[in-house]
C-alpha cells in the first residue's frame, strides 16, 4: 500500500465508469425506495388514524417488526427467502429484471415506511384536538380542516425527523451491497480489491456519501426555515 495519496489511480482502467455507475445506482435506489417509503408511510399513518382497532393493531405490528429487525436481515429475507415462495414464472420475471435491485428497493422502502409513518403520526398527534374542534366550529369540513389546519402544522413538526429518516434511508442503501447490487459501496470494494489503493478509494466514496448526506440535511434545514411558523 502506498503511503502517498495518489488519486490519479482512480482514473485508470474502467474505475471512473464503475464509480459513476455506482453513484447512479445508489441514487436510483435511494429515489425509488424513498418514494415507496413515503407513499406507504403516509398510507400507514392514515390507517392508524382511523379509529378501527384492527387496522391500528396491524399497523402497529408492521411498525414494530420493521423497527426491531435489522435492515440487513430484512434484505436477506426478501432476496433469499421470498422468491422461493413465488411461482416459477414470477421468479423468472424477477431474475430477468435485476431481482437484487428490485428486492433492495422493496426491503429498504418497506423498512423505512415504518419510520416515516411513525414520525408523521407523532406530528399529527402533537396538534391539540382543540385545533380540529375550532376548525370544525368555524364550518370547515373534516377533510378541509385536516388539509388546511392540521396537516400544515403536523408536517412542520414532523419535518426534522422526516429529514433524518431520509438521510438514514440514503445511508442504508449501502446495505444492498450484500445481495450484489452494484451501488457505490459495492463499486468501492471492487476497485479496492483490483487496485489495492485502499485509502484513495475509500476516501473518495466516504466524501461522496458524506456530501450527499450533508446536502439532504442542509435541504431539510432550508425547508424548516422557509416554512417556519412565525411566532411572536
Amino acid at each position: 500500500m502506498s503511503t502517498k495519496l495518489d488519486f490519479s489511480v482512480l482514473l485508470r482502467e474502467d474505475y471512473p465508469r464503475l464509480i459513476i455507475e455506482g453513484i447512479v445506482t445508489m441514487l436510483q435506489l435511494t429515489g425509488y425506495a424513498w418514494m415507496l417509503a413515503m407513499a406507504l408511510g403516509i398510507l400507514l399513518a392514515l390507517l392508524r388514524m382511523t379509529r378501527n382497532r384492527w387496522a391500528e393493531r396491524a399497523v402497529a405490528l408492521y411498525v414494530e417488526y420493521h423497527q426491531n429487525v435489522p435492515m440487513l436481515v430484512q434484505i436477506f429475507l426478501w432476496y433469499f427467502g421470498v422468491p422461493t415462495l413465488l411461482p416459477d414464472s414470477v421468479q423468472l420475471w424477477f431474475n430477468q429484471r435485476h431481482s437484487e435491485f428490485l428486492f433492495a428497493i422493496i426491503a429498504v422502502g418497506l423498512c423505512m415506511s415504518a419510520y416515516i409513518s411513525e414520525s408523521l403520526r407523532s406530528g399529527i398527534r402533537s396538534i391539540p384536538a382543540s385545533q380540529m374542534e375550532a376548525a370544525r366550529a368555524l364550518g370547515l369540513s373534516y377533510l378541509r380542516a385536516s388539509r388546511l389546519v392540521i396537516l400544515p402544522q403536523a408536517l412542520r413538526i414532523a419535518l426534522p425527523t422526516l429529514v433524518s429518516h431520509s438521510v438514514l434511508l440514503f445511508k442504508n442503501t449501502s446495505l444492498a451491497m450484500v445481495i450484489g447490487v452494484a451501488e457505490l459501496t459495492y463499486a468501492t470494494r471492487e476497485i479496492e480489491s483490483q487496485s489495492f489503493h485502499t485509502i484513495e478509494t475509500y476516501l473518495l466514496t466516504t466524501v461522496i456519501y458524506l456530501g450527499i448526506s450533508l446536502l439532504i440535511m442542509a435541504g431539510g434545514a432550508f425547508l424548516e426555515n422557509r416554512y417556519r411558523i412565525k411566532t411572536r
Binding site: E64, N68, L72, F76, L77, F80, T185, Y202
Partner: protein, 255 residues
Amino acid sequence: MIIDIFHILRDNWTLLLIGQYPNGPLGGLAVTLILSVAGLTLAFPVSVLLALGRVSPIRILRAATSAIIYTVRGVPLVMFIFWVYFFVPLLIGTTISGFTTMLVTVVLYEAAYLAEVIRAGIEGLPKGQVEASRALGMGYGQTMFKIVLPQALYNMLPAMVSQFVSTIKETSLGYVISVNELTFAANQINSTLLTKPFPVFVMLALIYFLLCSLLTQFARWLERRIAKRRTGGPRSIAAADMSTAADPVGATTAA
C-alpha cells in the same frame, strides 16, 4: 413453514446461541449481545465527552465535536466498518480479528449517536438548574458533573435503551466482515440446508424481533416511570415532552 422453523431451531439452537463453543470460537446470539453491551458501554464515556463538547462555551470545542458527529452521522455504517477494517491494523501494526474490528466500529459509531441523545438531555433541562448552581458558587465543571449530567442522563435512560436496540441491530453488519454473530450463524445454517432460505430468515427475523421489541417495551415503561417520577402525577405535559425528546435527532438507526 412453522414446522420447518421448529426443526431448524431444534437442530441448530446451539449454533445460533453460542456458535461452535466450546469446540470452536464463540458465536451466535452470545457474540451479538457481547458486542452490543461492550460496544455501548465503551461508547458511553466517549459520548459524554462529545456531548459536553457540543454544549461547551468554547467555540473551537463546539465546532470540532460537531464536525466529528456530523461526519459519523453522514457516513453509512458499512463504510465505517471498512475504514476500521483496513486502517486500525495499519495504525497499530498488527492485524485484528473481525470481532475487534466490529467492536471498535460500534464504539466509534455509537459514541456519536449517543452524544446527540445526551446533548438533547442536557439541553432539555430547565436553565434555572445551571443558574441556581452557579449562583451557589459551583464552577462550570462542578455544575456539569454534579447538577446537569446526573439529571440529563437519568432523563435520557429510555433513549439509551433505544440506542441499545439500535446497537444490537447494527452488529448484524458484522456479517459483512465475517464476524461470527447471529446473522452470520443463520447464513451458515442457510448454506448447509440450501433449500430452506425462507424459514431460516423468518426465524432469524423473529429472534431479533423478540429480543429488540422486548427491550423497546422496557424503554417505553422506563419512559412512563421517569415522567411520572419527575412530575409526581401519572399524566402530564412532561410525559408528552419526554416522548419527543426520546428521539431528539431521529438518532435511532435502522441498520
